[in-house]
C-alpha cells in the first residue's frame, strides 16, 4: 500500500488506562501513554506478548473502557463518552473479538446476530437484504443457508465470518480486530485473513489488528506497532520493522519464531507486571542488549536504567523508543 498524506482516521494521543489494584495491590497501568494513528484504508498490526495491554488499548479505542487520561480522535472529532455519542461512534467503528464462538450468543441465530447492530441503531432500510448482503460479503454464500443456523451448527471459521458480517452490516469505517484468528484452526486462519484483506480493497476499510503473531502482521498489515508493557516501543512499516527490527524487544520476538534464522534470544523471566513498571526504560530489566554489555559499550546503559526513552509518535514514520537503537542510528 502506498502511503497517503490524508489525515489519519483515528488517532490516540497519550492514552493511559489504569485499573485500580485489587485488595491493596498497586494499580495496573495497562496502557501507559500510547500514541497511535490509523489512516483511512490502512491495516495496522499491534503486536506484543501476553498481558502487554493490547486488548485494553483496543477496548479503549472503542470506548469500552474509559481512558484514565489522553484522548482518542476519530475522523477529526475527539471521542465523547455520553451514551448517545458512543452509540453513534460505534456505528462507524466495529470490534471483532478473538473468540468467535464466544462472540455469538448461542441462543441467537445467525440472522439475529448479524441484524443485532442494525436493530440497535434503528436501521430503517430492508433489514433482511442488509443481512444477506453482509453475510455474502463475509464469504458465507449463499446466505440463506445460514440465516437460521445457531452458532453451534457452524464451524469456527464460519462463526468468525458471521461476527465479521455483523460488523460489516453497519458499514463501518474502521474495524478493530482483537486476535481475530488466534482461536481458529491453522487451516482456516488464512481464509479469514484473506477476507480482511479483501474487505480493505473492496470497501476501503481500515483495520487495527491486535495479535501476538508476527506472521499475521507479515501476512496482511501495512504497518506494525510493537507494544511492551502498556506502551508502543517500536513502530513502522511491516517490511521495515520485521526485516530490520531496531528495538531489542522486537528482535527477541522475531528471533524466537521457529523459522527464524540464527540463535533465538529467549528473554528470561515472566511476562512483566503492569502494576510494577520499572523506572527508566521499561524493558531494561529483560533487555539482552543491556545484559550483554552492548548498551554499556554504546554508552547508554545509564540512560537505559534511569531515563525514559519516550513515546514514539503514532504516525507513519518508523520510530523506536530505545536509547541503544537511537544511539546506533545516530552513530
Amino acid at each position: 500500500m502506498t502511503t497517503t498524506t490524508a489525515p489519519p482516521l483515528l488517532t490516540a494521543r497519550d492514552l493511559h488506562v489504569t485499573f485500580p489494584g485489587r485488595r491493596g495491590a498497586d494499580p495496573a497501568r495497562a496502557v501507559d501513554g500510547v500514541e497511535l494513528d490509523i489512516g483511512a484504508g490502512e491495516i495496522v498490526a499491534l503486536v506484543g506478548e501476553s498481558g502487554c495491554g493490547k486488548t485494553t488499548l483496543a477496548r479503549a479505542l472503542l470506548g469500552l473502557v474509559r481512558p484514565t487520561s489522553g484522548r482518542v480522535t476519530f475522523a477529526g472529532t475527539p471521542m465523547e463518552y455520553s451514551s448517545r455519542a458512543l452509540r453513534a461512534y460505534r456505528k462507524r467503528v466495529q470490534l471483532v473479538l478473538q473468540d468467535p464462538s464466544g462472540s455469538l450468543n448461542p441462543r441467537h441465530t445467525v440472522y439475529e446476530a448479524v441484524a443485532e447492530g442494525l436493530r440497535i441503531h434503528g436501521y430503517a432500510g430492508d433489514e433482511r437484504a442488509a443481512v444477506t448482503e453482509a453475510l455474502s460479503r463475509a464469504g458465507l454464500r449463499p446466505p440463506e443457508r445460514f440465516l437460521l443456523r445457531h452458532p453451534h451448527e457452524l464451524s469456527g471459521g464460519q462463526r468468525q465470518r458471521v461476527v465479521i458480517a455483523g460488523a460489516l452490516v453497519l458499514e463501518p469505517e474502521l474495524l478493530v480486530a482483537d486476535e481475530p484468528v488466534a482461536s481458529l484452526d491453522a487451516s482456516v486462519r488464512g481464509e479469514i485473513l484473506a477476507l480482511l484483506l479483501r474487505l480493505r480493497t473492496e470497501l476501503g476499510l481500515s483495520a487495527l489488528v491486535v495479535t501476538h503473531d508476527l506472521g499475521l502482521a507479515w501476512n496482511i498489515a501495512d504497518r506494525v506497532a510493537v507494544m511492551y508493557l502498556g506502551r508502543i516501543v517500536e513502530t513502522g512499516a511491516v517490511e521495515q520493522v520485521l526485516s530490520a527490527p531496531r528495538h531489542p524487544y522486537t528482535r527477541a520476538l522475531l528471533s524466537v519464531l521457529p523459522d527464524s534464522p540464527g540463535e533465538p534470544e529467549v528473554l528470561a523471566g515472566e511476562p512483566p507486571d503492569p502494576s510494577r513498571i520499572p523506572p527508566g526504560c521499561r524493558f531494561h530489566a529483560r533487555c539482552p542488549v543491556l545484559a550483554s554489555g552492548e548498551a554499556e559499550r554504546a554508552g547508554v546503559a545509564g540512560a537505559c536504567r534511569t531515563e525514559d526513552p519516550g513515546v514514539p509518535g503514532g504516525g507513519r514514520e518508523a520510530e523506536v523508543a530505545c536509547h541503544w537503537a537511537r544511539a546506533r542510528a545516530g552513530a
Binding site: 485488595r23 491493596g24 495491590a25
Partner: protein, 355 residues
C-alpha cells in the same frame, strides 16, 4: 458475604463457583490478602447481624395488638399492673428509645424476659441449646457423612444402577415433609405397627432419674428416631450436591493426569476428585444449616424434644414475643456465624480463595 450458594431448596443446581471474586494471582505478600479477606467476611457478617437485629425488632413490632395484653393472656389485670408491666418491659418509651435499648441489651446478651416463663429469654435459650445441639449435631454429622460418601460414590459411577437407586431415594426422601415422616416413624417404630414392635420411645429426650452410663444409653435411645428423621430428609441434599459437584469435576484434565500417573481408581477419586468436589459442597453444607434449623423446629415438635425448635413452636402459639424475637435472633445469628465460619474455613481448604 457468603460464598455463592444458597440455602436453598434444592442446591442440586447451585452454581457452586464461589461467586465472590477470587483473585487468582495476587502475589504481593502472603498474609495480607487473607487478612483482607477475613476482614471483609467479618465485616459482612457484622452487617448481616445488624440487619438481623433490626429486623428482629421491627418485624415483631408489626404484630397488631398490645404486647402487654398478650402477656397477661386475658387475666384480669389492674391498670396499675399493666403500667408496671409496660414499664418493666420498656414499652412505655418512644419507639426509637425502645430500639436503642433493645439493641444495647441485645448486644450485651440480654434478650428480654419471656412473657410466659418469666425467665430471661437467654436463660431459656441456653437451657434448650445443648439439647438442640445434641440432636442437630448428631444428625448433621451423620447426614453429612452419609451424603458425602454416597454422593461421591454415585457420581463416580454415575448412570449405574447404584447411582440411580441412591439418587432416586434421596430425591424421594427429600420430597417428603419431615414432620410427616416423623409421625410415620413414630407410628411404626414407637407405637409399633404390625409385626414391628415399638422399639423406640415416642418422644422426649430422657427418662427421669437415670444416671451415668444408663443415662447416656437412655438419651441415645431417645435420639434414634428424631435423628433418623432429620438424616432422612437432609442427607439427600448433601448427596445431590456432592454428586453434581463431583460430576462437574469428573471431566477435568487433572483427573486424567492423576490416572496417567498410574494411581488406582479410588485413589484418584479420594485424593484428587473428592477434595475438589468437596469445596462447593462444604459451603453448601454450612449454608444449609439454615434448613436444618427449620427442620429441627418440626422434628422437635413431633418428637417432644426439649430443644430450641420446640421452644420456638411454643413461643409462637402464645405468642411470647420476647421469646420468639430472641429465638429469631438466635437462629439467624447462629446461621450467620456458621456461614462466616465456613467462609473463613474455605480458603484453608481451597488455596485459590482469599489469598
Amino acid at each position: 458475604m457468603s460464598t455463592g450458594t444458597g440455602t436453598g431448596p434444592l442446591p442440586i443446581r447451585e452454581t457452586v463457583a464461589p461467586a465472590t471474586t477470587t483473585p487468582r494471582r495476587t502475589r504481593t505478600t502472603r498474609t495480607t490478602p487473607y487478612l483482607h479477606y477475613v476482614a471483609g467476611k467479618l465485616a459482612g457478617a457484622l452487617v448481616s447481624l445488624l440487619a438481623v437485629l433490626i429486623t428482629g425488632f421491627f418485624l415483631f413490632r408489626l404484630i397488631p395488638g398490645d404486647p402487654v395484653r398478650t402477656m397477661t393472656g386475658g387475666r384480669p389485670v389492674s391498670a396499675e399492673q399493666l403500667a408496671a408491666y409496660r414499664r418493666e418491659f420498656g414499652l412505655d418509651l418512644p419507639l426509637w428509645q425502645q430500639f436503642t435499648d433493645y439493641c444495647g441489651k441485645a448486644l450485651t446478651g440480654d434478650l428480654g424476659t419471656s412473657y410466659q416463663f418469666r425467665t430471661p429469654v437467654l436463660d431459656k435459650i441456653t437451657e434448650a441449646l445443648p439439647n438442640t445441639l445434641l440432636l442437630t449435631g448428631t444428625a448433621f454429622v451423620l447426614y453429612t457423612a452419609l451424603g458425602l460418601t454416597l454422593g461421591t460414590r454415585s457420581a463416580w459411577r454415575h448412570g449405574r444402577l447404584g447411582d440411580r437407586l441412591h439418587t432416586g431415594l434421596a430425591l424421594t426422601l427429600y420430597s417428603v415433609p419431615s414432620f410427616w415422616l416423623g409421625l410415620l416413624l413414630v407410628i411404626v417404630f414407637s407405637v409399633g405397627a404390625g409385626p414391628v414392635p415399638g422399639l423406640f420411645p415416642t418422644g422426649g429426650m430422657e427418662d427421669a432419674g437415670t444416671e451415668g452410663f444408663a443415662h447416656v444409653v437412655d438419651v441415645a435411645h431417645h435420639l434414634v428416631l428424631p435423628v433418623l428423621t432429620l438424616v432422612a430428609v437432609e442427607y439427600g441434599q448433601t448427596l445431590l450436591v456432592t454428586r453434581s459437584a463431583l460430576l462437574d469435576e469428573m471431566g477435568s484434565d487433572y483427573l486424567t493426569t492423576a490416572r496417567a500417573k498410574g494411581l488406582r481408581d479410588d485413589a484418584v477419586r479420594r485424593r484428587h476428585a473428592v477434595p475438589n468436589a468437596l469445596l462447593p459442597t462444604v459451603t453448601l453444607i454450612f449454608v444449609n444449616l439454615g434448613r436444618t434449623v427449620a427442620g429441627v423446629i418440626l422434628v422437635e415438635t413431633v418428637f417432644s424434644w426439649p430443644g430450641l425448635g420446640g421452644l420456638f413452636y411454643q413461643a409462637l402459639s402464645v405468642p411470647d414475643l420476647p421469646l420468639v424475637q430472641g429465638l429469631f435472633l438466635f437462629f439467624a445469628s447462629a446461621v450467620i456465624v456458621m456461614n462466616t465460619l465456613a467462609d473463613l474455613v474455605y480458603p484453608l481448604l481451597d488455596p485459590r480463595v482469599g489469598r
